[in-house]
Amino acid sequence: MIQFQYERATTTKAAINGLANNSNARFIAGGTNLVDLMKRNITAPTKLVDINMVPLKDIQQQNGKTSIGALALNSAVADNKLIIEKHPLLSQALNAGASAQIRNMATVGGNMMQRTRCPYFYDTALPCNKREPGSGCGALEGLNRMHAIFGTSEQCIAVHPSDMCIALVALDASVLVAGPKGERRIPFEEFHRLPGNQPEKDNTLQNNEMIISVEIPDNAFAKNAHYFKVRDRASYAFALVSVAAALNMDGKVIKEARLAMGGVAHKPWRLKEAEKALAGKPATEETFRQAAEIAMQGAKAFKYNAFKLKLGPNVIVEALKNAAGLV
């Protein structure tokens, strides 16, 4: 096997120092994606800094927000009482992702850092600008049934695969990161990026920065939230389209709404215009249909994923109906 250095960090500081002076060093936690990537020769880090011993697993409530440690397991977050009570949307989204075995290994930070599942990215015999910049995009003229309809570029039309992140972007979460220069917060919506001319870059983390936690501000969405995922089998498949919908209701009227889509873009796709259109309206199928139409503005399909233009709005409506208790 390719030789690499392995180091175990027990503090955030040690972990960050572990990356110093080595642009090819990576953190490893659950390893549910990174190990696959290494086995398939898609990435070959020269150093792995194991951060599983860093104490970042806590889930706590303070100062008007819920803070989830970067190393909290996906299953631990999904089953956490506080999360189920205050942010059921997140719990639902987590349980819609992967398998129980993977959720028991995967961490919150790792979930955010997972790479696309585009088959051209995973086959080193095929072109992929994300894996090998300049080699071309295999999916653009290829089998792009699973690919993006929003925010694509000529360089890359891959989608971000996470379910958890769709709920987090809807819930106005922010990401606390730490680096050699100290801590900073990144709004969740700005954490992942669109491919543009640099599809190899998935996110806006700077060199040697580490995810410390994800923070969700308190909200009034707990009663009316739903994560709706459509996939090719009943479980353990990536989304064709998924929608995270959260409503703050005043009787039958929507006070405010949060809406985000998965399976449609290189990043979790927040639908702010549709949210605005929902605010102040009665929670009816017609309202939802109108919001869905707004949400789909600017969508562009490729040869095999045109169905997403129709499935997308349908899933938005279904997610909102479920959130509003109309189903």
Partner: protein, 748 residues
Amino acid sequence: MNEAFFDKKDYKPLDRVDGRLKVTGAAKYSAEYVLPNMSYAVLVGSTIAKGTIESIDSKAAERAPGVLAVISHLNAIKLPSYQSKGEHPSEPSTKGQPLRVFFDNKIYSNDQPIVAVVATSFEKARHAATLVKVQYNKEQHQTDLEANAEKAVLPASGKKNPKSPTADYDRGQIDAFANAPVKFEAEYVLPTEVHNPMELQSITAHWEADDKLTVYDKVQGTKMTQKNFAKEWNLPEENVKCIATFVGGAFGNGLHNWPHETAAIIAAKQVKRPVKLVLTREQMFTMVGYRPRTWQKIQMGATKDGKLVAINHQSIGQTSTYEEFTESTLQQTRMMYASPNVSTRYRILPLNLATPIWMRGPGEATGAFGLESAMDEVAHSIDMDPVDFRLLNYTESDPDKNMPWSTKYLRECYDEGKKRIGWENRKMQPGSVRDGEWLVGYGMGTGTFGANRNSATVHAELDKEGNLVMHCAITDIGPGTGTAMVQIASNTTGIPTEKIAFHLGNSEFPNAGLQGGSSTVNSVGPAVLAACNALKEQLITMAAAKGNAAFASAKPDDVMFDKAEIQLGGKSAKLTLGDLLKQNNIEKIETTNESKPDENRNKYSMNAFSMHFAKVHVHPFTGQVRVKKIVCCADAGTIVSPKTAASQMIGGATGGIGMALTEDAVMDHRFGRYVTKDLADYHVPVHADVPEIDVYFVNKPDLLADPVGSKGLGEIAIIGVAPAIANAVFNATGKRIRELPITPDKLI
């Protein structure tokens, strides 16, 4: 024949005799044998679909730590069989020349094995394999079935033998369809499917001497493997041993000996050490066969009151450019329904792909998707219940072979299945039943498969403690062969199951064919029966010779055991087995018996039948399909092991759900490479996709087929499931999906 033998009460559900070994990890699969001085091989596959290798740069790989050899056509020893151009050495034969691994620089398909890297550890071999650099001269490949359909050909088997299932077939008048009062015509497509058993294909090859080879190999036939490798290496058969004691699923991909097996044997010869080779999941898509993508067109003519007038059924399936793979896609169209006029046209299309191989329910499952969907479409067009439509066109004898059925209890399957699925809740008008937001639909599909039987031999020995030990070369790829054979032996002798052992999966044991084509219980079962009866004959002779007058006129059926005591005609013979052997001064008695198909096969048409009913929910806005219930009814003759047989039906129905809704090996034809080639992207059904599966067996013996009365059920468990689900989806939505799988995008 002992009447009690066929009393179903006697066949109680029995836990798998090897269940404990399997769940505790004690069962040894082919990759789990540890030999001294073991080395490990990893295969490098081509990255083009057609052309030649220009150069291989293996320097870095050779220098990598632990590497023992980098083997390719440049330095591989040439096998004796590589010199001949003749028939495929493997049996059952597909015509053509199998891929000769490391023979020359030609590339016939993408991910064709071209280099083996052998090292002292698996990890070292895998790493070194990434260092091999290959340059190609690329040629234009063709991998797209539909784009090349006009180049399809009649296979050699069909040209040579007009009675072959692949030959052109016409019954009655060819133009009958044109004059039918009701005419229906449609095309159906089944995508490439991959067997994907849980266990990866693996082999450990060990040259115990220069001319003595042992392979621990994941195969469905130990004797087949022994014969093939003996031929391949020009060795006497007895110098080749194949061990496949446990096989972790196969579904057909172990019916052929593949290039990776030969690659491991070559490697073992060259490094002079045992070599273990395990395919990756990706290589399971390209190196060990698949169910070929198949296009079908059906024309069906009927009278307005539902009598079939004509069926014309044509199909085109993929094969490689070097072997003619064929399957019986259109066979059932000739015999399932009483249409006076039937024509079938079977074609194959050579493409730059690896050779396919039979996958569970092989061609019949593919053909049934066309035939049973078309039956549903015609029934709908004349406003007739699809079960009634089938009953109206029921065949009381085989109209293809012009022979009576040995047995056919399909009517019982229709009747029982309707009750169990709640068929009365089905509405003729699609889309008219709802459960909340979900649309509800019911569908059904029929299946049939030949009640195949091969010759088989079993060795049995019975000791004075009453322990019965049997041996046979047959493999068990999962259905529970050992369990079934133990039950047959127990029922024949009265010996309790825990005192019986059935050893299998070794080419040194007495002869048996492949575990394939639903033939095992029908073939090996009768040999077990024969061996048990032969042991009883010996006991009778011994007892009579020692003055037990009652035994003088006894027949094997009169003799049973109750623990170690011998019973005669249901009463104690006041004689124990131990006493009898002691009197004769022997430790044990033994026998070897062969059982073969008999002349009844020339007089009767022998088929197993199945009927699958499905209830589905379809979400009208998101296109999600949820199968809510499946009822499987099987006329498979005597069910000797009710528990493992039911498991087999459940597995088949699960495979049918995959076929209908999820499985699709998608190829990017620009590169000739699959893009869904792991278990994340190639979707086999998961637990959440599989509902309650209710299994019913008619359980009536077919003693014309074989003395056990069994007709086989591995294939009928899946044949007809996919159309049952597709028909239910139509009933739920009014949408007819003629290209599988039925994914959500096709229904919105």
